[in-house]
């Protein structure tokens, strides 16, 4: 099977030839190209080349041209801080006076230099993949973006006490998110990761999710012209497992803090599960530990299809060694061939 066939088969809750591997190494491409992280993300061409090399080196099943979390806030005019050994991080919040939310407008994708870089990388990957390798685009959900726009405290305050500002912010962010997702689909992305950590049960209770993040996900995902994968970026989701299929998403990316067997059972034949290796701990894994952990995940979650092996955060730390990434890949190929043999 090609990677595309493998992934599509598992998405239809059938068993492909082996478990697909989404090795979401966003920064390791810089190492491959001998560049600093800042230089690497300065051009779409670099990220495309980095993803091609990662795919070949570790025999993975997707291209993941995700740049960094504060990309969208950068498009809104926010600050991004680069470091030599980690993902570019958001600076001070873009909006310091919450009243300014009323005058906030969404940036146009075609006018944003940073977004155009991402589209460039997707276009190159599309040409290169010849539709054999899925290209996974990324958006920050309208509901989670305000953490970077306002800071978490102010956002929780308006979510609870200033519904007028909250509703306006959601309207602006939703318009932007849909345009941004569809621009990536148009550029060649096969599917879109809908990062929505604020909706996770780690951050807000189910009742509040039903009133807010759930409604926004339903309306946003319906207008994205491609499949979506909802990613909670290490947050828990079992308390809202019954609601997630109703959002229209096809995949759910789950936390390492949730039992993969329970997760698989909760989403069986409804959503494909993506996860859930502990990215932070992975930095200290030995190849032997890696082998054991991957084997265990596969044996618990892979039978019947509907499972893609990945880390639980959607961004493997720069400090994770090539040795461990090779061990992940080798273990997937060793234990992930269907039918899964339990031992």
């Amino acid at each position: 099977m090609t990677s595309m066939e493998r992934v599509l088969t598992t998405l239809s809750h059938k068993e492909p030839d082996r478990v697909p591997l989404f090795l979401l190494a966003t920064m390791h491409g810089a190492k491959e190209l001998g560049m600093s992280i800042k230089e690497y993300f300065s051009k779409g061409e670099n990220v495309a080349e980095g993803q091609i090399r990662i795919n070949l080196k570790y025999n993975t099943d997707c291209y993941y041209p995700f740049f960094y979390a504060p990309l969208e806030t950068e498009a809104f005019g926010g600050e991004v801080i680069y470091t030599e050994d980690g993902p570019p991080n958001s600076g001070r919040p873009l909006i310091t006076d919450i009243q300014k939310i009323n005058s906030l407008t969404a940036p146009k994708v075609k006018d944003s230099e940073v977004l155009l870089k991402v589209l460039k990388s997707i276009q190159i990957l599309k040409k290169h993949s010849k539709d054999k390798i899925p290209i996974i685009g990324v958006v920050m959900s309208p509901f989670s973006l305000p953490v970077l726009q306002l800071g978490f405290e102010k956002y929780l305050d308006i979510m609870h006490f200033r519904k007028d500002l909250f509703n306006h912010l959601m309207k602006v962010n939703q318009e932007f998110c849909i345009d941004w997702a569809n621009a990536q689909i148009e550029a060649g992305a096969t599917a879109i990761t809908y990062f929505d950590p604020v909706s996770s049960s780690t951050i807000i209770p189910r009742k509040l999710y039903l009133e807010t993040g759930f409604q926004i996900a339903v309306h946003t995902i319906a207008q994205i012209k491609g499949s979506t994968a909802t990613h909670f970026a290490s947050g828990n989701c079992l308390p809202i497992a019954d609601l997630l299929p109703q959002t229209g998403t096809a995949v759910v990316a789950v936390s390492t803090e949730e039992d993969i067997s329970k997760v698989k059972e909760a989403f069986k034949n409804k959503l494909t599960v993506l996860g859930n290796m502990n990215g932070i701990e992975m930095r200290r894994w030995t190849p032997e530990q890696t082998d054991k952990i991957v084997k265990d995940l596969i044996q618990k979650a892979a039978p019947g299809g509907g499972f893609i092996l990945s880390d639980n955060h959607g961004e493997i730390p720069f400090q994770v060694s090539d040795e461990v990434l090779f061990a992940v890949s080798e273990a997937v190929h060793k234990y992930g061939t269907y039918p899964i043999i339990k031992s």
């Binding site: 050994d85 980690g86 991080n89 958001s90 800071g151 405290e153 951050i203 079992l238």
Partner: protein, 212 residues
């Protein structure tokens, strides 16, 4: 002091429904059973620790922990103002976000500790190693609470610790990298790690007793 279990249950209910006036009534009503500092450290702190524990076990969400801390901080400020000599402000304690601007974890811990009767200095966010070394030495900080979101920042605490070896400051760390890798705090040379605000209250209480 009388048992406060009924008040703790009632205060927890009030906080989780975000009923600030009810929370205030419960705390004021309990004042007949103890001094303001006892009410802060036993009723309020006890309730916030229970809420923190429920987040740790996945039964409550972070937004509920945050709102509970904010409400309690306001209520306690009324009966125990920041300048009140009964507040536990010695040895000198400060809290900061190391290297980035994700401030929620710090805010939750700051509120929880203040609502529990402690007084501490809020150094804000985005602080570098050099800035923290200077502040700790100049202000003679004895307990430094550091909140971190990003793994590279967590790893750089090792360098911070080395630069503070000539002081007697204790560094207590918390934040996502330490939650997901429970050995990391030892690797970077921290003196303790709190997985949540409940843990942090226990650690700070113990350190305060040791150092005072």
């Amino acid at each position: 002091m009388d048992n406060l279990s009924l008040e703790i249950n009632a205060l927890e209910r009030a906080l989780l429904t975000m009923d600030q006036s009810q929370a205030e009534s419960i705390v004021i009503g309990a004042m007949t059973k103890g001094t303001p500092i006892q009410i802060a450290s036993e009723l309020v702190s006890g309730t916030l620790q229970r809420i923190g524990d429920s987040w740790e076990t996945g039964n409550l969400a972070l937004s509920q922990v945050y709102m509970s801390g904010i409400i309690c901080e306001e209520v306690i400020d009324k009966i125990l103002p920041p300048s009140n000599p009964l507040r536990k402000n010695q040895p000198k304690m400060a809290i900061a976000v190391f290297e980035d601007y994700h401030l929620l974890g710090k805010r939750i811990l700051y509120s929880t500790l203040r609502a529990s009767g402690f007084e501490l200095i809020d150094l804000g966010g985005g602080l570098s190693t050099d800035q923290l070394v200077e502040i700790v030495k100049n202000e003679k900080i004895k307990i430094l609470l550091l909140s971190v979101l990003m793994l590279p920042s967590a790893l750089r605490i090792k360098e911070l610790k080395l630069n503070l070896l000539d002081t007697d400051v204790k560094i207590i760390v918390g934040g996502a990298p330490f939650r997901f890798d429970t050995e990391l705090w030892k690797e970077v040379g921290a003196d303790g790690m709190g997985k949540d605000s409940s843990d942090a209250i226990e650690i700070v209480t113990k350190l305060m007793e040791e150092k005072s």
